[in-house]
């Protein structure tokens, strides 16, 4: 069995699959070593937003990276669907973030202004008062004071996105090896040597994309990539007639009619379960925004762990000690998939890093 590749991508979630697809599309030799179903896998438990508004209010480089990615999404999704026939369901109607208090409105306005400023006005938005929101989404309650709106936001089916990325990377020539969780990695004069439970692999380049396991493997190569789990709980309802034409951070309606409700942030270490108290809180906020949801049934709820860096920004890092060892970590792997398949893959294949990703080396954590 083949065990030598030019590039080995460790982890086949949204990040690894995007990067590997990008590398394979250049005709380069690449394989993905993925873990198993019992791993923590944010890519299988997320909310499915391609979300831009508010991102990078405190970091101009992140604001610019996101607005750049948002512009590429429509053609990226079209190409992906065309190549695979997998209906990822990408839509870009713009997004709303509801404000229920004066303070939320003030904070949101400031965030939006900053993002627009950082992107020289490329990020456009509107602050909508209650009546303006009601024109777009008639079923909001009187407790919605207003909302921020940006035309750059969208949403999709994240499970289909993952499937499309994996399918496409394989048809572009990438080998996919599941249940090959990497236990250790070393670098010797011949290159990188990786051990899984029962096999050894060799590569000239490796890209760590294994979610919450990135810190551990990075450390074996002397890199400091701090990531920690932040749990989000999500609820899914039965199908209801379409009433919500745009996604928001708290509620979105899928093409199938179900509602996905969420946006909680909890530090629960590696517990990815659910709690009745949080489910109640999430459901109550949704009902506060849309009172008619009171009688809609929940079908499922789950928890999943975000992969969070200390400053909430992504990591695009190449080891100085061992050039050819890369690490990619982020908590918005749906939104940034387009960037990972594009400029991040280019950089891993040897191009100079695009200025939009240059700001995200992990050196910022070594202070």
């Amino acid at each position: 069995m083949e065990s030598e590749f030019e590039t080995l991508v460790i982890g086949g979630g949204l990040v690894g699959a995007s990067v590997a697809m990008g590398i394979a599309s250049k005709g380069r030799s690449v394989a993905v070593l993925d873990g198993g179903d019992s791993d923590f896998r944010a890519s299988r438990g997320n909310f499915g937003l391609t979300w831009v508004q508010g991102k990078g209010a405190e970091n101009p480089a992140y604001a610019r990276l996101n607005i750049f990615g948002a512009g590429l999404w429509p053609s990226f999704s079209e190409e992906l669907e065309g190549a695979t026939g997998v209906p990822i369901g990408y839509r870009k109607p713009g997004g709303l973030e509801f404000c229920l208090t004066e303070q939320e409105w003030i904070d949101r306005s400031e965030e939006m202004r900053l993002v627009s400023h950082h992107t020289d006005g490329e990020f456009t938005y509107e602050m909508l008062d209650h009546d303006e929101v009601k024109k777009r989404v008639p079923l909001i309650s009187d407790s919605v004071l207003g909302a921020s709106y940006s035309p750059h936001d969208g949403h999709l089916n994240p499970l289909y996105l993952l499937r499309a990325l994996q399918q496409n990377m394989i048809s572009l020539g990438c080998r996919y090896l599941p249940n090959q969780k990497v236990a250790s990695v070393i670098r010797d004069q011949d290159g990188f040597k990786l051990h899984t439970k029962d096999r050894q692999f060799f590569a000239d380049r490796i890209v760590l994309c294994c979610g919450l396991d990135n810190s551990r493997l990075a450390q074996q190569l002397g890199m400091h990539i701090p990531v920690e789990p932040v749990r989000g709980q999500l609820l899914v309802t039965e199908r209801v007639a379409p009433f919500l034409s745009m996604p928001s951070l708290q509620v979105r309606q899928t093409c199938e009619g179900t509602l996905q409700i969420g946006d909680s942030h909890e530090h629960t270490d590696l517990d990815d379960g659910t709690s009745l108290s949080m489910i109640t809180k999430i459901a109550s906020r949704a009902v506060k925004i849309f009172p008619h949801l009171e009688n809609v049934h929940l079908n499922r709820a789950w928890g999943a762990l975000r992969i969070m860096t200390p400053d909430g920004l992504p990591v695009y890092h190449q080891s100085e000690q061992y050039p050819g060892a890369f690490a990619v970590s982020c908590h918005s792997g749906v939104t940034l998939s387009v960037v990972h398949a594009g400029m991040v893959a280019d950089w891993i294949c040897g191009s100079e890093p695009h200025h939009l990703i240059n700001a995200f080396s992990a050196d910022r954590f070594n202070v």
């Binding site: 008639p138 079923l139 039965e238 199908r239 209801v240 007639a241 009433f243 199938e256 008619h292 809609v296």
Partner: protein, 103 residues
């Protein structure tokens, strides 16, 4: 399609029945059967319209997994008819594009 193994005539409607009220109409049905079976028994046709396309739907799996049998029972929406036993006086309505009512 579902068919009763015994014909309707074999059921003694005098001794083993309850009255359900389906779409306002009082109908005797065999006691002890499920709402979904009762709606098939009275030839109710469809029991709901799908939330997105509005297409008429009827029970399918009869064992609680497909959610095709959703009906309104005693004012409560989205009840699975195949998992609910008929009771005397139970009011059952078709479930039609529920949330459209909110517009």
């Amino acid at each position: 399609m579902f068919k009763r193994i015994d014909s309707n005539q074999n059921i003694n409607l005098n001794t083993h029945t309850v009255d359900i009220i389906f779409e306002g109409q009082t109908l005797p049905v065999p006691a002890g059967i499920s709402v979904a079976a009762a709606l098939l028994f009275v030839d109710a046709g469809f029991n709901r319209e799908s939330a997105i396309s509005g297409s008429p739907r009827s029970s399918y799996c009869m064992m609680g997994v497909c959610f095709e049998c959703l009906v309104e029972i005693d004012g409560k929406l989205s009840q699975r008819g195949c998992q609910t036993e008929v009771l005397q006086g139970m009011s059952i309505n078709r479930q039609v594009l529920t949330l459209k009512a909110g517009f």
